[in-house]
Symmetry: C2
Subunit: 208 residues, 2 copies
C-alpha cells in the first residue's frame, strides 16, 4: 500500500549529495528563497523549449531544474534558515513550475500535430496535481504532518520528473510516441498514488 | 487585497438556501460522503458532454453539479456528521472533478478544431488548482485554518464555476470564442488569486 518507487534511503542519499552544492550556492550569497525563485524561472525555460518542440533540450532542462529544486530546502536546513514561508513558497512554486512545463508540452504537441499528447499532457498535469493536493489537504486537516505522507504512493515528484525527462529525451531522439507513453504513465501512476493516499487517510481516520 | 468577488454574506445566504434541500436528500438515506461521490460522478457527465461538444449541456451540468456540491457539507453540518475524512474527500474530489471537466473541454476543443481553447483549458485548470493548493499548503503549515483563507482572492471556486458555465452556455449558443474568453479569464483571475494568497501568507509570516 505505501511502497514508493523511491526508497527513503535513496531519498536521503540524494539529499546528502545535494548538501555541499547547496551550501556552495549559499556562500555565493544566494538565499533559499532566491534559489526557489531561480528554479521557478528555470521551469519557464524548460517549458519554452518544449513549446518550441526542442524536446531534447526540454528533457535536459527538466532534469537540471528537478535536481536544482533540491538545493533550496537543503540550503535552508543546512544554514538553519528553514522557515514556514520558505516551505510554503517552495511547494507552491514547485506545483506552478510543474504546471508550466506541462503547458509548454501542450503547445509543443499541438505545434507538432500530436493531438494525443495535447490530451495526455493536461491529464498528467491534473493527476500530478492531485497527488500533491491530497497530501497538502490531508495535512491541513491534521491527518499527518512532516514527510510521512511523502512515502505513500507509487509516484512522488522525483519519479514523475524522471519519467517525464525520459519521455522528452526519447521524443527528441526517436518518436513523439515516447512522450505520449511517458505522459500516459504519469497520469496512471499519479492517479494510483492519489487513490493510495485517499485510502491511507481513510485508514488513519478509522484508527483515530 | 482580500476582497473576493463573492461577499461572505452572499456565501452564507447560498448556504442557508442549501440546507432544506440537503436535509431532504439526507432523509432519502443519502450520507454526506455518498453525495460527494454522486457529485464527482456528475462531473464526468459534464466532461463527457464537453468532450462531445454539447457545450450547452455541459454548461448546464457544470452549474447543476456546482450547486449540488454545496449539499454534502451542508448535510454533514446539519446532521452533526461532519468528519475530517469527509472534508478531505470532499475537497479532494472537488479538485478531481474540476480537472475532469477541463479535460473534457480540451477534448471538445480539439474535436472542434479550436486549438486556442485546447491551450487555455489546461492553463485555466492549472491556475484553478494553484488557488486550492496554495490554501491547503498554507493551512498544512499552520498558517491559517478554517475558512478565513477562502475569502482571500478574487476568484474562489464559485466564481470560477459561474464564469466557466457562462462560457460554455455562450459557446453553445453563439461562438467558441466565448469559451476561450471564459477560460482565459479564469486563468488570469485564478493566477491573481494565487498571488494574493502568497502575499497574504507572507504578510502573516512577518507578523508571526
Amino acid at each position: 500500500m505505501s511502497g514508493s518507487l523511491v526508497s527513503p534511503a535513496t531519498r536521503q542519499r540524494v539529499r546528502d549529495l545535494a548538501t555541499p552544492i547547496a551550501t556552495a550556492l549559499g556562500r555565493l550569497g544566494l538565499t533559499p528563497n532566491a534559489l526557489t525563485l531561480i528554479g521557478f524561472v528555470g521551469t519557464f525555460v524548460a517549458a519554452w523549449a518544449a513549446a518550441g518542440q526542442w524536446w531534447l533540450a526540454a528533457g535536459i532542462l527538466v532534469l537540471v531544474f528537478g535536481i536544482f529544486d533540491l538545493f533550496d530546502g537543503t540550503l535552508a536546513r543546512a544554514t538553519g534558515r528553514a522557515s514556514r514561508f520558505g516551505a510554503f513558497l517552495d511547494s507552491t512554486l514547485d506545483r506552478a513550475g510543474e504546471a508550466v512545463i506541462y503547458l509548454g508540452i501542450v503547445v509543443g504537441c499541438l505545434g507538432a500535430g500530436y493531438v494525443l499528447g495535447a490530451v495526455l499532457a493536461p491529464a498528467a498535469m491534473a493527476a500530478a496535481f492531485m497527488v500533491s493536493y491530497a497530501r497538502a489537504k490531508a495535512e491541513s486537516l491534521g491527518f499527518e504532518s512532516g514527510s510521512g505522507m511523502a512515502n505513500v504512493g507509487l509516484a512522488p515528484r522525483e519519479v514523475r520528473i524522471v519519467i517525464l525527462a525520459l519521455g522528452l529525451l526519447t521524443a527528441g531522439g526517436a518518436s513523439l510516441d515516447a512522450l505520449g507513453l511517458a505522459l500516459g504513465l504519469i497520469a496512471v501512476l499519479a492517479t494510483v498514488t492519489t487513490v493510495q493516499r485517499i485510502l491511507h487517510i481513510r485508514a488513519q481516520s478509522r484508527e483515530g
